[in-house]
C-alpha cells in the first residue's frame, strides 16, 4: 500500500502564496460535516465565497471551496470555522443536558 490518503489537502489551483482562495479536499467526510462547515464559514464576513461538494458518491471525500476578501488566508478561516463549530456543539450539549436535568418533560410508557 502507498501513503494513506491525507485527511485534508489543498487542490491544485489555489491562489499563492497567501491561500486567499483555495479548494480543500477533506477525506472521509460527507454532507454531514460539509454543509455544517460551509454554513459556519459563510458566517465569517471576511469570506467572499464558500461552497462544498461531494464530487462523486463512490469517492469518500468532499471538496470545500473558500475565497477570502483582502487576501486573507482561507486556511485561517477554515481553522476559525472549525473552532466556532466546536463551540456551537458544546453550547448545544450544555443546553440539552441542562434541560434534560430539569425533567420538565412528559414521561410515557411505550411497549416494544
Amino acid at each position: 500500500m502507498s501513503d494513506p490518503t491525507p485527511k485534508i489537502k489543498i487542490l491544485q489551483g489555489a491562489l499563492e502564496p497567501d491561500l486567499s482562495a483555495a479548494t480543500y479536499q477533506i477525506h472521509d467526510e460527507s454532507h454531514t460535516l460539509g454543509n455544517a462547515l460551509r454554513w459556519m464559514l459563510m458566517k465569517n464576513p471576511k469570506v467572499e465565497f464558500c461552497g462544498y461538494s461531494v464530487p462523486h458518491p463512490s469517492e469518500n471525500h468532499i471538496h470545500m471551496r473558500i475565497q477570502m476578501y483582502d487576501n486573507l488566508s482561507s486556511l485561517d478561516a477554515l481553522l476559525q470555522a472549525l473552532s466556532n463549530l466546536d463551540d456551537l456543539c458544546i453550547t448545544i450539549d450544555e443546553a440539552y443536558q441542562k434541560n434534560l436535568g430539569e425533567g420538565q418533560y412528559e414521561r410515557w410508557d411505550e411497549q416494544s
Binding site: P6, K43, D109
Partner: protein, 376 residues
C-alpha cells in the same frame, strides 16, 4: 400510546415566532423561503457574523416527551445544516455492536446459511459500544473487539405430550428465537459483564430467526463487532431519527372567517388547532400548533382564500428519535454531538499540520505535489 396529560408538551409560542424572517411559506403546491438568508452582507447594516454569545442567547433546547424507547425534543435557533448534521450522525455514525461473522457448522433448516446470517446480523444487541474497540481488519479477534455467541438449536418432538391417538404433536424449538443466542465469554469479558452490566444479549428476545421441523438443526458461532450505520444499517443505533419544522397558522385580521363557516374552517386543521369561540369567532390555539398535520386542506377552499397563511418556523426543529439497541433514547443526541466534535477535532488536527507545512516552506512544492507554491 400517549397519555392525554400532555401538559409538558404544549405551551404558548414566544412572540419571536411571528418574525416573518423565520418563516417558511407552505402553499398549495410548493414551499417558499426555504433557505436562511441571515449571512453577513445579505442585509445592509445588519451584522450576521458568528457570535457565540448571541447564539447561546437564542438557542433553546427542550425535551418534550420521553419513553423507554423514544424521545421528542425541540432544537430552536440553529441552522438546518447543523440540525441535519446531528440527525445524520445519529443514523449513520454512532457506533454499536452487531453480528458480522457467522461460522456455520451445521444448518439443516430450510433457510439458507447466508439469509439466516443476514437476519442474525440485524438483531440489535445490548452491548455498550464504548467498552469495545473497532476490530483491526488484518488482525486476529481479541476479547476487546469481539463478542462471541453460540446458536445451537435442534427441533424435536416433545416426548411428554399425551400419547393419545389424534392428540396434537408438540414440538420443542419449532422456532429459533433471538433469545436462543448464547453468549460465550472470551478472555476477561466474564469479569467485565458482572453486577449492573447485563450480559451481552439481544435487546428483544422474541425475534423469530428461523422455523424448524423435527430433526432439523442449526449450529453456528457468531462474532459481533463494533461498527457504524454508514457501513451497514445493522449498526445504526436508531429505528428512526428525524426532525420536522414547527408548524404555524396565521390568520389575516383584515379578512376574518365568517361565523357560519367557522366550523368548516376548524375542520380543515388537526383537532385543537383552531378554536371556535362564542358567536363563531375563530382563533388559533398556539398550545396545539405543533400537532398540526399541515394537510393544506384549508387552501382547497375558495372561501378561505386570503384569510389564512400556513407557515413553518425555519429554525425550530422538532426531533423524534427512536432508540433500537444499547443507548437510552435521551443519550443519542449527546452521543451525536460527541461524534461531531470528534470529526471536528480530526480535521482541525490535520488542518493545523497543513498550516505548519505551508508556513514552514513558503514557495515550496508540497510533498504530494498537488500544490504548486512556486512562481513568486
Amino acid at each position: 400510546m400517549a397519555s392525554s396529560s400532555a401538559a409538558a408538551s404544549s405551551s404558548r409560542l414566544p412572540q419571536s415566532a411571528y418574525n416573518p424572517r423565520r418563516h417558511v411559506g407552505v402553499h398549495a403546491e410548493r414551499v417558499s423561503d426555504v433557505s436562511s438568508t441571515e449571512y453577513p452582507g445579505h442585509y445592509p447594516g445588519e451584522d450576521h457574523s458568528w457570535d457565540l454569545a448571541k447564539f447561546r442567547e437564542n438557542l433553546k433546547v427542550e425535551v418534550k416527551r420521553l419513553s423507554q424507547r423514544s424521545v421528542e425534543f425541540d432544537l430552536v435557533g440553529v441552522d438546518a445544516s447543523i440540525a441535519n448534521a446531528f440527525r445524520r450522525i445519529m443514523i449513520a455514525e454512532i457506533p454499536t455492536i452487531a453480528t458480522e461473522h457467522v461460522y456455520v457448522w451445521n444448518n439443516t433448516s430450510v433457510i439458507h446459511d447466508e439469509v439466516l446470517a443476514h437476519r442474525i446480523g440485524l438483531v440489535p444487541l445490548n452491548v455498550p459500544p464504548g467498552m469495545f474497540k473497532y476490530r483491526n481488519p488484518n488482525g486476529v479477534p481479541t476479547d476487546q473487539d469481539t463478542i462471541v455467541f453460540k446458536l445451537n438449536v435442534t427441533c424435536e418432538v416433545d416426548k411428554n405430550t399425551s400419547k393419545e391417538k389424534g392428540a396434537p404433536r408438540k414440538l420443542i424449538h419449532e422456532e429459533v428465537l433471538s433469545g436462543d443466542l448464547e453468549w460465550v465469554p472470551q478472555g476477561e469479558q466474564a469479569s467485565v459483564f458482572t453486577g449492573d452490566l447485563p450480559p451481552p444479549a439481544p435487546t428483544n428476545k422474541n425475534i423469530v430467526l428461523a422455523k424448524l421441523r423435527p430433526g432439523q438443526e442449526i449450529d453456528m458461532d457468531l462474532h459481533a463487532i463494533k461498527g457504524v450505520g454508514k457501513d451497514h444499517a445493522k449498526w445504526s443505533p436508531v429505528a428512526t431519527a428525524s426532525y420536522r419544522l414547527h408548524p404555524l397558522v396565521i390568520l389575516n385580521p383584515s379578512k376574518p372567517i365568517p361565523p357560519h363557516l367557522a366550523q368548516k374552517f376548524a375542520n380543515c386543521f388537526s383537532p385543537g388547532v383552531v378554536q371556535v369561540g362564542k358567536g363563531g369567532r375563530v382563533s388559533i390555539d398556539e398550545r396545539n400548533l405543533r400537532k398540526e398535520s399541515m394537510s393544506r386542506e384549508v387552501l382547497r377552499h375558495k372561501e378561505f382564500e386570503g384569510s389564512v397563511e400556513l407557515k413553518r418556523i425555519r429554525d425550530w426543529f422538532i426531533f423524534t428519535v427512536e432508540s433500537e439497541g444499547p443507548y437510552a433514547p435521551q443519550d443519542l443526541f449527546p452521543e451525536s454531538i460527541r461524534v461531531m466534535r470528534e470529526k471536528i477535532a480530526n480535521i482541525r488536527h490535520a488542518a493545523e499540520a497543513l498550516l505548519a507545512d505551508v508556513d514552514g516552506a513558503p514557495g515550496a512544492v508540497a510533498a504530494d505535489g498537488d500544490v504548486e507554491m512556486g512562481g513568486v
